[in-house]
Amino acid sequence: MEKIKKGTILIVEDEPVFRLIYKGVFEHDGYVVLEAQDGEIGWQMAVEKKPDLVLLDLILPRASGYEVLQRIRKEESIKTMPVVIFSIMGAEKDIQKALDLGADYYRVKGSNSPRDILGEINTIFDKLRGGRKT
């Protein structure tokens, strides 16, 4: 039986183990997962594949997470795409900068288990389906 697809998530993350973990947990729960290992590929995939949500790391080769975020928000076809920053950096100023640039959510890597993150992603998708973004 084909699983009902819950949506498409693009993971932009340079560290292979984190791509493995999050692809694993999201696919297990029914999402389609796309991966990008650097900022440039992340940006290209966002524009071409138009995922429902982007899980975006900040420290990336070729183009930083901030850079990718800015481009997404400027690009007409995808400027309202939900972006969740998922970074090991957790300082107040990093969070504020990301939110100022248009990130919808910010989660710090390492404080939460993959299951917690899955839960949050599910909540975000519920909100999106409800037609309103917080």
Binding site: V25, S113, P114
Partner: protein, 480 residues
């Protein structure tokens, strides 16, 4: 012996004065009969004091004019002698600032008093000028900018280093408002504190070292550190500010901070990766796992988790030692902070069969704290309690006490000896036996203490051997 010159156009007077003076024990330096003479003789003889007749008819220059010239050129004190007390003359005489007046005819003792007062005042002025020169040289040689502002916020003194620091001369700065020199928020606050002191109140910022942005003449800004002192004199209230450029220091602090952050990420990332993989395996993502596998995986997860804690502690201590811990104090819900701290340990408590009891007042307590630091401090204490208590209860009590909030974390563990109590918050200490995985590196409570200090709070311990431990946190209430 003091040397006095007498100037009067009448020979009788000068001769009489000469006798008087000698009687009183002064040396007569010389005599003059006119303004011009007085000037010339003064230049030659350089007396300590001149007794000058104001009105000298039939002579070109009168006493007042002569005094003006002598004062400007030679700075010799002059006492005016005059028979007339007319207003106009008096007014004009005052403009040359004589050290005294005596009205003819006068007694010997009047003369003596006038002379002594004049000489004394001259001496005091000299000492004051020297003292001023001495302090001035200190202030001028100072590397730090030193400037003074009055109650209206205008600069009244501006030393050499201030000129260099802010890029503007004292001519350009004196009399102008100081608000152009510091960022708005700070200058606003300084003005408020000045008014507070002016109305007899007490100010918290006096004597403290504060940071702000300095603004140069060309508009560029730079980080500046300054200390303020307030002083009241008859003329009013003044603030003296000593300031220095801390651009270099800020750069170094940023480098240190970046370094610690980098090390932090490098150390934490692999551990987070391992924990994520284990979590997924436990969730069944890699297929069904046997009980034995589950047991191993749980142990691996536990160890990784503790590893992460140790790394966190090391990084905290590293920041503390480098003096680069930032603190952001805001009103916080104490209940929320405690809940976050307990969240990660409820499972562990359950597994060990420990009971958790929380006692708190009906109304949530608001404290003034840095949320992350408060939570970290509490976590370190909770961690300690869970680690060392094998059976019984962990009790968390929250309450208000005067201007502070108290959090007590009590366990039913083995408790501490007097000796251990002395060492428990210290960083460098001897370990008894070999450090086990269970004990970690003992930095948690040191960190907790330092973090509490940074928030103007405290942590202490009460314990008796065999009777468990109670750690007591004291945190200032918000708006106390």
């Amino acid at each position: 012996m003091h040397r006095i010159m007498v100037v009067d156009d009448e020979a009788i007077i000068t001769s009489q004065m000469q006798d008087y003076l000698q009687l009183l024990g002064y040396e007569v330096a010389g005599i003059a009969n006119s303004g011009e003479d007085a000037i010339e003789s003064a230049r030659k003889l350089l007396p300590d004091l001149i007794l000058m007749d104001i009105v000298m008819p039939r002579k070109k220059i009168d006493g007042i004019t002569a005094s003006e010239i002598i004062k400007k050129e030679l700075d010799i004190p002059v006492i005016f002698m005059t028979a007339y007390g007319g207003e106009k003359i008096l007014e004009r005489a005052k403009t040359v600032e004589p050290v005294g007046f005596i009205i003819k005819p006068f007694q010997e003792n009047e003369l003596k008093i006038a002379i002594e007062v004049a000489l004394y005042r001259k001496e005091m002025e000299r000492k004051l000028r020297e003292s001023e020169k001495k302090y001035r040289s200190v202030v001028d040689a100072a590397v730090d900018a030193i400037f003074t502002i009055d109650i209206d916020g205008n600069v009244v003194f501006w030393n050499r280093a201030s000129e260099a620091l802010f890029g503007q001369t004292s001519e350009a700065t004196i009399g102008k408002p100081f608000t152009r020199l510091l960022s708005e928020s700070i200058s606003g606050m300084v003005r408020q504190e000045m008014r507070r002191i002016f109305s007899g109140g007490h100010s918290d910022i006096v004597g403290k070292t504060l940071e702000a942005s300095g603004i140069r003449k060309d508009g560029s800004t730079f980080p500046v550190e300054f200390t303020l002192t307030a002083w009241k004199i008859h003329e009013g209230v003044f603030f003296t500010i000593i300031a220095r450029d801390i651009t270099e220091r800020k750069k170094i602090e940023q480098m240190k901070s970046d370094f610690v952050s980098l090390v932090s990420h490098q150390l934490k990332t692999p551990v987070a990766g391992i924990m994520g993989c284990i979590d997924n395996m436990l969730m069944g993502l890699t297929g069904e796992i046997t009980d034995k596998q589950k047991e191993y995986l749980n142990i691996m997860r536990d160890i990784s988790s503790r590893n992460l804690r140790i790394i966190s502690n090391l990084l905290n201590v590293s920041r503390i030692e480098r003096g680069i811990v930032s603190v952001n104090l805001q009103a916080q819900s104490l209940d929320e902070a405690v809940e976050i701290a307990l969240k990660g340990y409820r499972d562990a408590m359950g597994k060990k069969g420990l009971k958790l009891v929380i006692q708190k007042p009906q109304e949530d307590i608001l404290v003034l704290a840095d949320r992350d630091k408060l939570v970290e401090a509490l976590i370190n204490s909770v961690e300690n309690a869970v680690k060392f208590t094998d059976a019984g209860t962990i009790t968390v009590r929250m309450k208000k006490h005067e201007t502070s909030a108290l959090v007590e974390i009590q366990d039913t563990g083995p408790g501490l000896t007097e000796e251990m109590k002395q060492m428990v918050f210290k960083k460098d200490r001897m370990f008894t036996g070999e450090p086990s995985i269970k004990e970690g590196c003992g930095l948690g409570l040191y960190t907790a203490m330092e973090f509490m200090k940074l928030q103007q709070g405290t942590i202490s311990v009460q314990s008796d051997p065999g009777k468990g431990c109670t750690f007591v946190f004291r945190i200032p209430l918000a708006n106390s």
